[in-house]
Amino acid sequence: MSFVSVRNVFQSYGDRPILERVSVEVEEGCFVSIVGASGCGKSTFLRLLLAQETPSRGEVSIAGQPPAREPGRDRGVVFQKYSVFPHLTIRDNILAAEELSARWGRLWGRARRAARERADAALARVGLAHVADQYPAALSGGMQQRLAIAQALQARPRILLLDEPFGALDPGTRLSMHDFLTELRAETPMTVFMVTHDLSEGFKLADRVLVFDKTRWDPDAPERWGATITYDFDARHGGIPFQSARAPHAA
């Protein structure tokens, strides 16, 4: 039984199909990149994995659990923006990963001190210790995303979902974020799904690259059919030689 199991999932908004016949099995610890044309439903797929939405048909299950109905601590997420809390300092943002699950959203006394130490350790690990008392608005885009990833990981999720996390960063910062993510993964193996528009980024970081596209296309009504996974590349060893784990146009 695989770790993440997506079985024959369909998703439509109103009568407009976005995804159709999506099935994929992913092993624990696998890094999966998701690429595809703009608007083809990559973020929708991520929302389904996150349980932010429930599919019109089919199911998503993680670690053999019954399908979740709303997001929870087993799934971490980093969006392109708005991923950290602007009203909390950098340290409190990390602390939030432990505090928000408490009854009143706060820890007190010894529990708080211990959580604070862990937060400071996490900040030191991701190179944000020197700005611990500032607010996120004072950080550069790259540092904000670093914070968002560190915050998501502090809650120890079973899977990490990234929706174009580096999409708004300049190429240099993007490269250093790649190293950052690779290092984090070397320390704590985790299952990751990352949507990206950058093919080379997808192949560089991932073990598998999924391509979403429409298999049926009606020139008169482009919105008639939804997208599905059309290619499933093995991207280990830098993706060379590229090998397709799934034949194109097969469901």
Partner: protein
């Protein structure tokens, strides 16, 4: 250079800011002198010296009957009503607005009702309030609440509903319950907006306060103004009007300072 790109330097900005005040004062003095020259007993535009005397008398001289300085009593009575009214409205806005903005179930139940209530003209409700609550303090405070709360609740609910869905989802993935999302994510981010809504509501709140005091009260700034109007005591009226304006400006400034100090993250980056 285009006019939209011309900015005043510091001295010019100060001069431009002061100019309208100086012009208004000048116009008043000129008008006052002209009228007093024609008729030394004119009461409409008292001379600046008369105004000053009236202000000193109001601030320091005790009332013959009660032995108290009415000016301060009036100020205290009015500010108490204002604070109670706006405070209750703000508390309602915080709780109901938060609920309506965050919980779809509460929003569906509350929003249409609040929208409908906000359409009722508060001053038309004043007679009802007087009949129901009597002529005492309750009806005055209630008028301020009814007049300002619907706007504040709607503003708050709208603002809370605008919280980026990414933030809410993020909090969910960190294990936050609805209560915790309300307390630790939505509430703190709504606070600066609440203070802003209070600032905007203070204008209408003063309006309702003075209207209620004018109709039925035994003390208060609005009561005093409408009382001395019978004697055409323009000097006293002008002193009170200036005092109300100063109070309103000070309140606004205090709230702005409070917001900037308590919520530094909400300030535009410099």
């Amino acid at each position: 250079m285009r006019w939209i790109n011309r900015r005043p330097g510091r001295p010019l900005a100060v001069a431009l800011a002061l100019a309208p005040f100086a012009l208004a004062a000048l116009a008043y003095v000129a008008g006052s002198e002209a009228r007093l020259a024609a008729n030394p007993a004119d009461k409409l535009l008292p001379a600046p010296s008369t105004l000053w005397d009236a202000a000193m008398a109001a601030l320091t001289e005790a009332d013959r009957r009660s032995g108290e300085i009415l000016f301060w009593n009036d100020t205290f009575a009015s500010l108490t009503r204002l604070a109670l009214g706006v405070g209750i409205a703000a508390a309602l806005a915080l709780t109901l607005g938060l609920a309506a903005g965050l919980l779809p179930l509460a929003g569906a139940g509350l929003s249409p009702f609040v929208a409908a209530v906000s359409m009722a003209p508060p001053l038309a409700l004043l007679p009802i309030l007087f009949i129901v609550f009597g002529l005492g303090e309750v009806s005055k405070v209630a008028l301020i609440v009814i007049g300002t709360a619907p706007f504040m609740i709607r503003d708050m609910a709208g603002r809370v509903a605008e919280t980026p869905v990414e933030q809410i989802v993020k909090a969910e993935t960190l294990g936050a319950s609805s209560l915790v999302i309300a307390l630790r994510v939505a509430l703190p981010q709504a606070m600066p907006r609440l203070i802003q809504a209070v600032r905007l509501s203070l204008g209408p709140a003063w309006l309702f306060l003075i209207a209620a005091e004018a109709i039925a009260a035994t003390e208060g700034l609005g009561y005093r103004i409408f009382l001395v109007r019978r004697y055409l005591a323009m000097d006293v009226i002008l002193v009170y009007v200036a005092w109300i304006t100063i109070l309103a400006a000070l309140l606004d400034l205090a709230l702005r300072r409070l917001s900037a100090r308590a919520f530094p993250w909400a300030e535009p980056a410099r």
